[in-house]
Structures are given as C-alpha cells and as structure tokens.
C-alpha cells in the first residue's frame, strides 16, 4: 500500500466510531440518529491504528511483500470519497454508498474503498454486506496490517450485531492475530 493509499485511509475514517467498537451489550438499541463526528474519542475503544500517520517512517515489518504495483489513486476517486464522507456525515448513508460504489468502479483494487463501503453498509444496518465488503478489503489489503485489523474489527462488530457471538470471537482472534 503506497503513500497515496495511506492518505486515503486517513482521509476517511467514516465515523465508524463508537458503535462498532463497543461490545454489543453497551450499544444503543437504535442506531444513533446523528452520525458521530469522524474521530469521536471513545474511552474503551482500542486505539484506531489508522490514525497514526505512518507516512514518514516505513512500517516495522521488514521489506513490504512484493510491491507488485503501486495503485495510483485517481483524483476522481479522491473526489468521490470526499463526497461520500460528506454524505455520511450528513447521515445520508445511501448516498455515501452510491459515491463509494462509483469510486470502486474506478479503482476496484483499492482496499480502503471496500473498507469504507463496509463501514457504510454497517451504518445502514446491512451487517451481512458489511462483513462481505470487509472481506473484499482484506483480500486486497495484503501487507497493510492496520487496514486488515480494522476490517476484522468491523467483521467482529457485524457478527455481534447479528447475534453471532462465536463468529464475533473468531473475528476478534483474527484481528488480534495480525
């Protein structure tokens, strides 16, 4: 994952925030009517890795595995992601998803886009698709541990929402194992 892609992740922590990282029993029964601000500090939430700008120093793990290609992010995608973030912040998740789907059509190999789509699906209450989109992001996020972990955390939360405690535990193990 190149510099560009990292910036993209930084650009859009789509208010995953409170709900998802809280254990299910502490979650409000209704989805919060207002979207949380993008970086809502959450006391018992694990430190969100993405927010560490690893721009200056390369990650610890030696030699990034095979930098096969460096997906240059088209400006078009940056614009759409910005639109998606705005829509999401206004609580219009449908519209946010529509923007992200357009972005995905332009750069389908960009793992953070699928991750964002996963977050929006979660916000829409579509937990099944939230997990699937996160899986797609994981498939593409080879070598980006932070993004992989975020995806597993989202899968954990999605499974918990659906009452699949065992599955949620398994996802947590995956997240912790990264």
């Amino acid at each position: 994952m190149g510099l560009n892609a990292r910036l993209l992740v930084l650009l859009l922590p789509l208010a995953l925030g409170a709900c998802t990282l809280m254990p299910p029993e502490h979650r409000p029964t209704e989805p919060a009517p207002e979207p949380e601000p993008a970086e809502a500090p959450e006391p018992d939430a694990p430190e969100p890795e993405v927010d560490e700008p690893e721009v200056d120093e390369p990650p610890e793990e030696a030699a990034e595995p095979e930098p096969e290609r460096e997906p240059a992010i088209p400006d078009a995608v940056i614009e759409l992601v910005a639109d998606a973030r705005e829509a999401s912040q206004n609580g219009d998740y449908d519209q946010a998803a529509a923007y992200l789907e357009r972005a995905v059509r332009i750069s389908p190999d960009l793992a953070p886009l699928w991750q964002n789509l996963a977050v929006v699906r979660f916000q829409q209450g579509d937990y099944g698709q939230a997990e699937q989109m996160a899986r797609r992001s994981i498939r593409l996020a080879d070598g980006d541990r932070a993004l992989q972990r975020r995806n597993w955390q989202l899968i954990e939360a999605s499974r918990a929402e659906q009452g699949d405690e065992e599955g949620a535990h398994e996802a947590r193990r995956q997240a912790e194992g990264i």
């Binding site: 595995p65 095979e66 096969e68 290609r69 240059a72 088209p74 400006d75 078009a76 940056i78 614009e79 759409l80 639109d83 449908d94 519209q95 998803a97 529509a98 923007y99 789907e101 357009r102 995905v104 059509r105 332009i106 389908p108 190999d109 789509l117 698709q129 699937q132 989109m133 899986r135 797609r136 498939r139 593409l140 080879d142």
Partner: protein, 779 residues
Amino acid sequence: MSANKSRKPRRKGQTGARQPGLLRRWAGRVLGLMLTLALISVGLLALYAKSLEPELREHFEGGRWAVPARVYARPLELFAGKALSPAELQVELEELGYRRTSSGRESGSWSRNGAEFHLSTRGFNHPDGEELPRQLRVVFANGQLSTLEGLRNGEPVGLARLEPAVIGSLHAPHQEDRLLVRLDQVPESLIAALLVVEDRNFHDHRGLSFTGIARAAVANIRAGRVVQGGSTLTQQLVKNFYLTADQTLQRKFTEAVMALLLEHYYEKDEILEAYLNEVFLGQRGGRAIHGFGLGAEFYFGRPLEELSLAQQALLVAMVRGPSRYNPRRNPERARDRRDLVLTLMARDGIIDETEARSAMAEDLGLVTDGQRHQGRYPAFMDLVRRHLQRDYRREDLISDGLHIHTTLAPRVQRAAEAAVDARLAQFGDDAPQAALVSVNVEDGEVVGVVGGADYRYAGFNRALDARRPIGSLVKPAVYLAALREPSRYGLGSVLSDEPVTIQDEHGDPWTPRNYDGSNRDQVPLWLALSDSLNVPTVHLGQSLGLRRVARSWADLGGRVPNSLYPSFVLGATEHSVLEMAQVYQTVAAEGFRSPLRSVRAVTDSDGELLSRYSLSTEQAVDPVSSYLLQHALRQVVSQGTARGLQGWVGDTSGLAGKTGTTDDYRDAWFAGYSGDLLSVVWIGHDDNRSHGLTGSSGALPIWGEQFSRLSYRPLRRQTPGGVEAVWIDAETGKRSDEGCEGAVRLPYIADHLPDETVDCAGEPGEDDSRGFWDRVLGR
C-alpha cells in the same frame, strides 16, 4: 353563470312594471315561479359542473397523464487515467445525440481535433449524485483518457460525467408518450409564439373568448374555408383530454363548461403548463408523441431548451395539424407555416425582423429519428423489465413517469453488436444464431446483452431464455473443487490421461475422449484445464466425487441439476448465457460473487429515489483457490485453447477465459474476461443443427472482435498471502528448480508444496512427446 346573466334583464323588466291588484299577484306568482326555475337551473348547472369536477381534477392532479417510464443507460464517467479510446467516446456522444460542431461550446455539442475533444455536457440529476453542465477539454494518449480539464480555464477536472443516454421507454403497445416539462423549462419565445398564433387573449379571457371566435369567423369567411379555430388554449386542452372527434352541440357545451371550470379552479400558468405537455405533435408507430418536450426530442433530437427560434416556430406551427404540417412528410407545407409563425412573431415584437429573417433562412433542422433509441436494445430491455417486475406493477411502469437508471454501457453494447454482425457475416446464408452477455467483473453490472443475430428484433431472447449444453465451460468448477483440497491437489499435480470407460446415466458404458482423440499418460492439472482435456477431467471428477464438483459449481453461481451424472463434469447440463455470465463473474472476481444487476436505481417523475439496487457481494470461494484457478484460466488464453485471441487483441497477458464446445459441434462457447470486463458468447442453431465450429473457432472470434473495439483494464491480481511461485516439474508434479528441464513456474500454497523433488536435468532431453512438451513449456 351564463344562465344567470340571461335572466337578469328580464327580471329587471318585470319588477319595473307597476300594475295594481290581480295582475300584480299574478305577476308575483310568475316571478316566483321564474325565480324558482332560475334557481333550479342554476342549481342543476352547478350540479352538472360539480359532476365534471372530479374528472377535471383527475387530469390536473396526481396522475394527470399516463407517462411511460423512461429508461437510461449508465452515465459515462470521464477522468484522467480511464481506459477509453476516442472512438469509444464518439460512440457515447452519438448515443446521446450530441451535435458535432466546430467549437463544441454549445450545450450538447462536441468537436474533435485528432486525439483532442472539446465538449459541452448537459448536466443532470442522478441517484448516484448530481452533475452540473460543463465545458471540457478531453485529450487521449497511450490508450487512455490522459487529460481532462475545463475548456475555458484549463484547470484540471477530477471527474465529470456525460448524462445518461435514453435507451427506451416502458410503454403499452398503443400509448401516448410524453416528456414532461415545467413551465420554466420552456423557452419564453416559444410560449409567446404559441399565444400569438393560437390564443392571443389567453391571459385575459376566462376560458372562452368571444373576440377569438369572432376573429376566427371573419378569417374563415374571408378565406372561404376553416383556417382558424376560435377555441382558446383552455378549450383545446379540454378537447384533448377527451380525444374525441365527436363535435355535437352537447359535446361543445360540456367542453365550454369545463373550460370555464378549469379557469375557475386553476391558475393560468398551470393551464399553460398542462397545454404544453398535452398537445399532440405526431405519431411514431403505436406511440403518440405528446407535448413540446417529447416533440423537441422526436423532431430535433435535443432538449426543448436547446431549440433554435426556427425550431420553436416549427413546433408551434405543427400544433394546428401535426399530420398536415408533419415536417418529415410535408416539408414544404411545414416550412411555409413555420415562416408564417415567424412573421407573426416579428409582427408582434417577440423577435425583430433580422431574427425572423435569419430563422427563416434556416432549414428545418430535423433529425432522421429522434426516437431511434426506442426498441434499440430489446434484449437488454427485456432483462430490465424482468428485474423491475419483482418490485413494480406493470401499470406503474407504463404510467407513473418513472426514471429507470440501468447499467447498460452503450460503448460495450455497440461493440458487441458490431462483433456479432462482423463474425456472423462470414457464414453467408447459413449463419448460426449468437448470443452474448457482457458484465462488469467487480460489481456484476450487466453492461451489454445481445439476444440473437438480429439484435434489434425483440423476439426470442437467446441470452436469457435459450438453455444449451455448456460443454467445457463447466470445467473450472471441476478444477476448483480439486484446488480447494490443497493437501491432494496443486496446479502442478499430475492427472491420468489414460482412456477410461464408466457407466453413464442409463447404465451404458461411456468412453469420453479428448478433443484431439489422443491420450498422454499423465498431464499436469493446469494443462488439463488450459487444453480442455476431457479424459483427465473425468478422472478428476471421479476421484473428487460429483457432489464436490456440484458444490463448487453452485458456489460459483451455477444451477445444479437434480440428478448428477458423470457427464456433468464435461458440461452436459443446459444453461443460458446469462447464467454463465454469473458463474464467470464469480471466477473473474476471485470468488466474490455479485448477483448480476441491470438496474441501479429507480426514481419517480420528480427525481425522488424510489429504489436503489446497490452493489452486493459474497465471498463464495476462498481467495487462494480462486487465485490458483485464475492462473490456469490465464494459461487457457496464453497457450491453451484460446491462444488464438492474440490475433484479435494482441497482448493477451491480462486476459483469462475458457472455451466450450458440445457434441457434434452444436454449441460453441467462449467466456473470457479482463480485469474489468467479462463477456460470455454462445453460437448455435435454434434447431440444434451442427455448425461445425468449436468454442475457439466459432465463439472466440466474436469475443475477440468485441474486445478489440474496447478499452479495458488488464487482469492484475495480488498474490494472496501464503502463496508463492515455485518451480514444478511438469511431467512428475514434483518440485524442481529454475533452469531445470521440464520445470514450470506455478503459484503454490506454501504449506502444501510437493514433498519430493526431481533431479535437475539442465539440458532438454529427447523423447517422443517432445513436441507436446515444447509447447507446454513455451519452448
């Protein structure tokens, strides 16, 4: 009201006479009786008017008109770095009916100078986001759109979209069609012209105009025939509602009452807007063209806002008689009347003399068929209709003025049609049928459908409804089932190619054969797939068990037959092209199956979202097995049965696919994909005769021709974690090393590498299968 007026003077006269005694009493009684009668008739009239009211309101409120749903293609996204050629952009611009001009600066026009385009988009509302009109400079280089910037300021533009092209409407066989316009969308000059010609006093009368009638009468007497109607726009509107030629007195009376009622209940602007949308302007087959909005599109191929003065005048001219003044059939007559309208406009000061003169100098400015998109893509529309049936009633689709935003990509569809035309033309008179479905790899959006050789004809849709044996198109499921068991199989595992006889579904002996009729002892797994060898596939199916194969088939999205027979692994089951597109979408997207979609969203007539069909996906196959399978399918193209593709598209390194041929050459298939686009092609005769062609020789050329006309992204997949490339000995399936004789580099799961290693022989050995292995090893 009119009854009241006529009685008033009389009553006045009666009360004015002063007579004593009896006479006075009689007068009183008569007066009372007359008053009663007057009241009763006023009451009856009021009741009558009241009885007409619901009908009137029905026309004016809510579902005023039955407006067929309009169906749109996907909007083309433009951005620097997009894989697109100038020819493809031009196809899209033509689809939109954009005019080619010298500057490309008017809305809906473009110009081209070599690889540089100037164009002015129209802007639109779309459920995927609003798009403003823009003036763009678009430059192509190195097979892609390289520069996108503002035409005036030269500033880079990140993303722009052309508006979605209209590809049809969902209407009943004989139905009115219209494209509703709001009053503020109609050019003022057009409205002024309409009033001058049809109803000068529109803003002053209350539904009926006696001066209008008088003036018309004088004009008609002078001319000796009916040249003017005395009806107001309001009356014309009422008349149109009923669409009856019946001109009895009672009819006229009813119309007059309704005209008065209309004026009573509604504002002038509302009546005018209704008129602008109601007016009948022509006929296209079974569809009646109503309203100036659709009229503009029908005659001039552009939106009402973009019409020239001359074109506006021509539309106004046609109001009097769309058939008599039909500019396509009676151009002279239409032109004369247009010029008359322009003269009247100048006389009334709507335009000046110079404008009138230059407008009169214009030709009629007609397009051959502004509705050529109607019925243009019947096979795709068929798919859209089936999709919508799930959520919408037919009545709503043909009457609620919905907007259907589909996934069709005109450039892909047109390339498919051109490919079918070009390839089938090679057959002369005995050409087989063909069907094709193109799909976006990543999200399952259907971007093109060809339903038969005569793809403009809305007949049997072979892409959706013809179910034919798929032959080797099934094989990826067999090999996937194997690769899903990494402890038993890897890409380099050797399979037996020795002749085999097993029992078929009737209990009879069945001896499958390879296409070339020969057998090797053993072949590597990837090669058995890329060369589409039948015998090793049957061996593999037997050792895996049919149920495992069927599970993989189902995971890919294939329909599993009720009973499984050994011939299943050679594709004896029958499927449609669309089903195969679903299966290969899953394969191409590395196991992420996305249900095929043809509709993105539906909005109501005001653009409010009614439903959205968003991207969904399911990881049906694990990434590692998918990756390994894809590796073998790339070999199909690079050196296997589809290596002929190189002749069509040149570099095939970013492509993968699979050929299929059925017994006696009745069906030929090719399913192939790049990183972003997938097409499945079938050819065969409707009566199931043999056509003598294989997947490679019959279906692949259509695919090749289609893709040679398209820009696409090559397939580039990240190697999944835990997979590494290793050297495997092709003849034994054991580990080998770089530079060793017979070593092939294959992706393998690191935890499941072959245990044994062959002795490295540095020099190519001599044996009788030399020619075969030479090709396998790319020597």
